[in-house]
Symmetry: D2
Subunit: 362 residues, 4 copies
Amino acid sequence: MSQTTDSQNPAPRIGVLTGGGDCPGLNAVIRAVTKSLIYQCGAEVIGVEDGFLGLIEHRVRPLDWRSVSDILATGGTVLGTSNTASPFAWHGQDVSQAVLAYARELGLQALVAIGGDGTMTMAHGLAQRGLPVVGVPKTIDNDIAHNERSFGFDTAVATVTEALERVQTTGQSHGRVMIVETMGRYAGWIALEAGMAGAADVILIPELPYSVEAIAAVCRERSRARRCTVICIAEGAAVAGGGMTIERTVADSPDPLRLGGVGHVLRAQLQPLIEAEVRATVLGHVQRGGSPTPFDRVLATQYGNAAAQLVLRGEYNRMVTLQHGAMTSVDLASVAGRNRTVPTDHPLLVCARQIGVCLGQG
Amino acid sequence: MSQTTDSQNPAPRIGVLTGGGDCPGLNAVIRAVTKSLIYQCGAEVIGVEDGFLGLIEHRVRPLDWRSVSDILATGGTVLGTSNTASPFAWHGQDVSQAVLAYARELGLQALVAIGGDGTMTMAHGLAQRGLPVVGVPKTIDNDIAHNERSFGFDTAVATVTEALERVQTTGQSHGRVMIVETMGRYAGWIALEAGMAGAADVILIPELPYSVEAIAAVCRERSRARRCTVICIAEGAAVAGGGMTIERTVADSPDPLRLGGVGHVLRAQLQPLIEAEVRATVLGHVQRGGSPTPFDRVLATQYGNAAAQLVLRGEYNRMVTLQHGAMTSVDLASVAGRNRTVPTDHPLLVCARQIGVCLGQG
Amino acid sequence: MSQTTDSQNPAPRIGVLTGGGDCPGLNAVIRAVTKSLIYQCGAEVIGVEDGFLGLIEHRVRPLDWRSVSDILATGGTVLGTSNTASPFAWHGQDVSQAVLAYARELGLQALVAIGGDGTMTMAHGLAQRGLPVVGVPKTIDNDIAHNERSFGFDTAVATVTEALERVQTTGQSHGRVMIVETMGRYAGWIALEAGMAGAADVILIPELPYSVEAIAAVCRERSRARRCTVICIAEGAAVAGGGMTIERTVADSPDPLRLGGVGHVLRAQLQPLIEAEVRATVLGHVQRGGSPTPFDRVLATQYGNAAAQLVLRGEYNRMVTLQHGAMTSVDLASVAGRNRTVPTDHPLLVCARQIGVCLGQG
Amino acid sequence: MSQTTDSQNPAPRIGVLTGGGDCPGLNAVIRAVTKSLIYQCGAEVIGVEDGFLGLIEHRVRPLDWRSVSDILATGGTVLGTSNTASPFAWHGQDVSQAVLAYARELGLQALVAIGGDGTMTMAHGLAQRGLPVVGVPKTIDNDIAHNERSFGFDTAVATVTEALERVQTTGQSHGRVMIVETMGRYAGWIALEAGMAGAADVILIPELPYSVEAIAAVCRERSRARRCTVICIAEGAAVAGGGMTIERTVADSPDPLRLGGVGHVLRAQLQPLIEAEVRATVLGHVQRGGSPTPFDRVLATQYGNAAAQLVLRGEYNRMVTLQHGAMTSVDLASVAGRNRTVPTDHPLLVCARQIGVCLGQG
């Protein structure tokens, strides 16, 4: 709880905001940024409410030691977030100069922006216009470039794993095929790790188009052995060939399956080919919420502290990343718009194949 | 592990089966029936596979002490179950005499049937044709007549509560309205208890038709206070007035909302009336699976043991029930086809109202 | 969030405090008392800090709707508690008149006191001197007279059950005898229910003195079958005969076993009699902490709301209780100093015996 | 479930055993080894019971696809384990030649040995005498040389974190100092990671001797701010200076604190220096048991599969390790007897310091 201030230099003021979708561990990052800056240089930390919206609407509040003391394990973000508010396109207007003026008015020496792709792009934009920023990557999908493992991902995997275990007991009791649809529109990390942790028999990810017949064959073989089949499918997974993704399929037609998601699409594809009953569950928003796992709390704390170190060293316009197991940073400009998908020779995919998990092909 | 056998009287043979949908605690019941019968009278316990289907297809296996020793905490049923196989309507035939003959051939002195309404009706039918049966009620919805609290219900409530907590953090971070749809087609027990445990702001159950406007008013008031709104809705809940239930609404039209469930229907009803974003999650099958809570393990053990006591005392054609906190039994005939819904003056409903939870009306 | 106030009568002011040891669900009670009183009569609720100490030291704070909105699922008590501070014996002085004067000064119409035996006795004392009080019983041990099931108990049982499951896997891997000591100095409810939920092979409670030889016999028989033995022992359990309880044993001598607790005493008693390694774990304080189970949240909410109803109806000097599954109340005077222990013919004890659990005798 | 066999070459037979203390994830390793070998080369996998004891006492059993299908998430080891049975010192005799003869008799082409230091040493010994072995490192303490992260560690951290959270709520309610003692005799990994995840205010590890006065200062400062203090201490932590470790302190005297562990020693050291009540909990065996976290299931699966790949490539007398985030292997000889402790400049230690966690010094 100690803090150091230098009577000559007033305490620096640093802003913090969270942008984009909810993700377990955001509060742990906020806490670590705040504690680290207060503890190491007696900074005044200013929390910006609801992402960049708070800078647009002038809604901020101070974050002191006590206000972040009990948030390590809580889900969500105490600062609030917004998905869409951009200083560069606010109701059709570029209000970035007003935002920069407000930041100057607040006396912000720097801004720590915690968020995904969109947040990093906006942060980069403000940095180019003169506001020193440090980015902290947030993606529950684990798909940010240059970043090995994102906080929140372990928690999402745990949530999906629990769901797989739950449907497994029902599936086995009834001899059914149980489909669980996870997040992952472009990258299959969650489905892959949770599928492995939840003993899925079939794992389907966007990176590997699947054959319905191959999956049906697995189901039939397992039914013969009186076993259920558990399928873990990422929302972005699609049938191989035909050049048509599920997404396009459902976008093109007022399809009753639309709301059901790709899990229900697969169910409709699979049921005619096999005898066993097929059931699908779409996990949805529960994957984003809840208390972070201990792993994610530690990871998020390290991200937050690393961001504080960049601020303390004056290394701005960079984004904290985890590379080779260590915290480091990359230029903000090098990140935006790049996704990290699962390489088809990724060790965990290879491992899945070697222990007999079906990845959608024969 | 001790057991008593009487050299004069051979050990009695008792059959056990589980029918109907999966429910946490089934294995705990099987274990208690088996251990109690073995421990108290050295019985041979015969497990019937996949509900009545096992009696039709002659698939049984012995259950000894060891085979039930590690199943107390496991979800599902080690015996398997089937929803539909009836001795009285098997591919259009009444095969009940064949089933009775098989039971005689096996030397079954009695059959313990664990299941829901359908299973109790079939068990009663076999009882009337001469097979001594004892029923154990199973309903995750907690809606069997004469029965205060069913095993599996506490686990389902815990699963839904966790989901409510997860979406709450996301809802609060984004200022959203979050809808979670639970099981409960006719009875709202799960939505009510989980809604109370998960701090839902609005709880909607089949017993209390709801007003969309009243719910919208709650959402708007909470948004003004910068709070999210969490709504817990049972799948059987319906709009008041108009005489039209959701179920009929969606059955009558090839509605794209159908697969989404009533949660998505409410979302579509609510979104036009409020500014905050509305998101819906349908929990589905995860509510039936998983390891039973400690409470359910103890409760299921008591149900199983109570069934064994009925067998030991030769009190057949009865169903075990929990009344006034104690295990007792009722005539099988008095149960079938009756549902226990939430009385509109139930203490927990009254409590919900008194602490300001919206139950769908103004 | 609505509330009603009557312009004629000013809003009543009601105090709330929590006394005695920590217990999961305290915050749920505080929340329900507060919400119910605000929602139903627009009361001003005053939180008293650290039990009666807050009344002695004049430390109170208002509890409004928002301040209790996010505490349903949190462990501990936001008001703080104290075990020992008594208005009737504060550093050797009776300061009860000062406390009453302070309550008058605050304008408290009534005080809701949430706590155990000690708290109820003090509350009763203040009631007799003129402060209207309503008691809410709190006991993690589930041993308050006239009260079927206390909030917090289900959570403690869940914590112990999880510990039993954890040591079971280790025990089975090594073929060991694993002892887990639980809370329960006078009443064995926790050990009994958790033992049943955690599949303990031996359950030892204060109400049933145990024979070391009988337990050793169980361990030996299980070792022969290559099974581990899991023993769940309440801290108050004691060897039969000899007239000497463990407590006295350890109190009388500077025993190295003292800090280890009765679990380590049993280990020392048992190890010489059997070949398998014996290991003991004393769970301690983890049993009191953590987030309440959904069951306890609902139960605690009902306790809190019932207390508010008593206040609203002006039924003072009573304690809320759960009887025959319904909330009711008893005279405060009838509670103090009475413990509810496990009757030796309690249905769950009988059930335990009937499925072959050893209760400490042959 | 497919498998390939070559009609020319009979299926290879591979043995698997688990040795040393229980650890979450052992079953996941066994499953992956078995599935990978069956799936890739149609191997016959032979499970050896109770570590090397099974090779000494001729107790083995086949492991087929089905027998490992449901064990991914279960704690413990289905094969059993033993801490002490060594082929090189069995009741004072070297029975290694008999063990090798038995392995030949079984037709084992290779042995996969999963275990800690002791197991690796014995495996290396057998390898030198001609039995091809592959080692899989197991250490809940995360302290095996050349190995970044051990399976089971994440689960132990999660267990400790939960305990820290539980005592935190009690500590805060009472304004206490709560001490939680974790495993970690020589390496502080568990205490460090769990302390960070559980928001401990003080973390004490064997690598950093502590000052009681420095800890007392933290407690006093927090008490003044009406906050509790949570201390996470590894069992091997010791007071700085004096040259005397706790272990020696308690070994030298018949100390009543002995059974209580270092947590109780610290309590005794600290209590006289501060006003707040100090309570200690020793977690003990619960840290070794239970279902592995999803993270550990995936990690253990990768260890098991990597071991199978070594067998398939004939790379014997090596131990699988995780280095720079990837599975690789090292010579068995290079491992034995080396511990991986926490470097005093480890990034997580640095991070802890930078956010104001007390590491035992002023």
